[in-house]
Symmetry: C2
Subunit: 226 residues, 2 copies
């Protein structure tokens, strides 16, 4: 009985094979040896929609590169509120996990799987080695930081200067860009992401519907405007 349980956990955690074709598609500009190293040392892990991949304050154990699905990154406050910052999609990496070479560093962000996902987990000891060894990795890390930095600038632009109606519109548009006209989120989920209350979102969505921008249903709505 116990054995079976243990084995099933083990099976779940066991890395699947990482194929070179997959890597070539996701990270087309890497050096050949780097592919080999990734194949040798990275684990292809999966997680189901909704699971938490990284929590604020948690020690970072491995770098995380998205292979399949979408991850959402949040800033978390002391009381456990979550503020949505940006998405990560296949070929992108979680910046905070890429430069944790020396000390055991703690995550300042929360990462959640939106869909079922798979990702490459690379043990941290390779981070510094690869930085030294592979130019393409080096560029990858810098590109990652640069684009995450830009995402944060966008986020700040929204909350520093805009009211909730505009922020909601921006939020929905980002959503639509990724997953199409139909947004499958409850008002409560949107409210959590924007750190406001469900009522506020309900009222604003109603107003958008009255303006003909969206069409509301239960558990989802469609973006019509433009």
């Amino acid at each position: 009985m116990t054995f079976i349980t243990l084995r099933s956990i083990f099976t779940f955690e066991l890395s699947k094979m990482v194929s070179k074709e997959l890597l070539l598609k996701l990270f087309p500009d890497w050096e050949n040896d780097l592919y080999e190293e990734v194949i040798a040392h990275a684990e292809l892990r999966s997680a189901s929609a909704g699971s938490i991949l990284l929590k604020k304050g948690q020690n970072i154990k491995s770098a995380m590169l998205v292979v399949e699905g979408t991850i959402k990154l949040y800033q978390e406050d002391e009381e456990g509120s979550e503020f949505f910052m940006y998405h990560l999609t296949p070929g992108e990496a979680c910046a905070v996990t890429l430069v944790c070479n020396y000390h055991l560093e703690q995550s300042q962000v929360l990462a959640k799987a939106v869909t079922d996902i798979s990702y490459l987990a690379i043990p941290l000891e390779f981070m510094d080695k690869w930085l030294q060894k592979y130019k393409s990795w080096h560029y990858f890390v810098i590109r990652t930081y640069r684009s995450r930095y830009e995402e944060l600038l966008n986020t700040i632009n929204e909350i520093a200067f805009k009211n909730m109606d505009e922020r909601l519109e921006f939020y929905i548009k980002r959503q639509v860009e990724r997953s199409g006209k139909t947004v499958k989120l409850t008002h409560q989920e949107i409210a959590n992401d924007l750190n406001t209350s469900r009522e506020v979102i309900s009222r604003l969505l109603k107003k958008m519907e009255n303006n003909g921008w969206i069409s509301l249903s239960r558990n989802s709505f469609d973006w019509i405007k433009k």
Copy 2:
């Protein structure tokens, strides 16, 4: 007459010498050849307090490393409001200017000199070369991005979760850390940095004074608390 004017402009723009001692102090972990390159190719420029070093939308012409003084970085919105994000002090660099190798990229941020400053301006064509050639430069760029990313996370934490009184306290504390107990800013300047109105800041500061946290004067106040 015209000649004299031209010469004075020229003199002002002319690069001063960059000494190796200076570089060693500010950037102690660089490679020797990198110091030489910086001495050969960087210009030591100066700017007076209040001047704008980089504007949103402006083409980036050179990388910027702070040598003396303090720079403030802002996010700017369409109407010209400015939202303060973080400071740059000697030994730090403006992240956005470091990875603009290929295309003519436009700045997404606004950078202003708080005090009289001097900084190294490095022509962009060296950015990619140095990334390839100098590991210490590579690490410098990554460290810069990493720490700016963390600053942005802090900023987001403030505006996403906190009310103006807490944001103001955080703002003042950052100020005090850098330039001591006496904060030499008008209420209007603080209001601009936090993207709120002067009245709001005046009232909150008054409340802080009543609580014994600060002592108000004209054009400045002292932080007393703790």
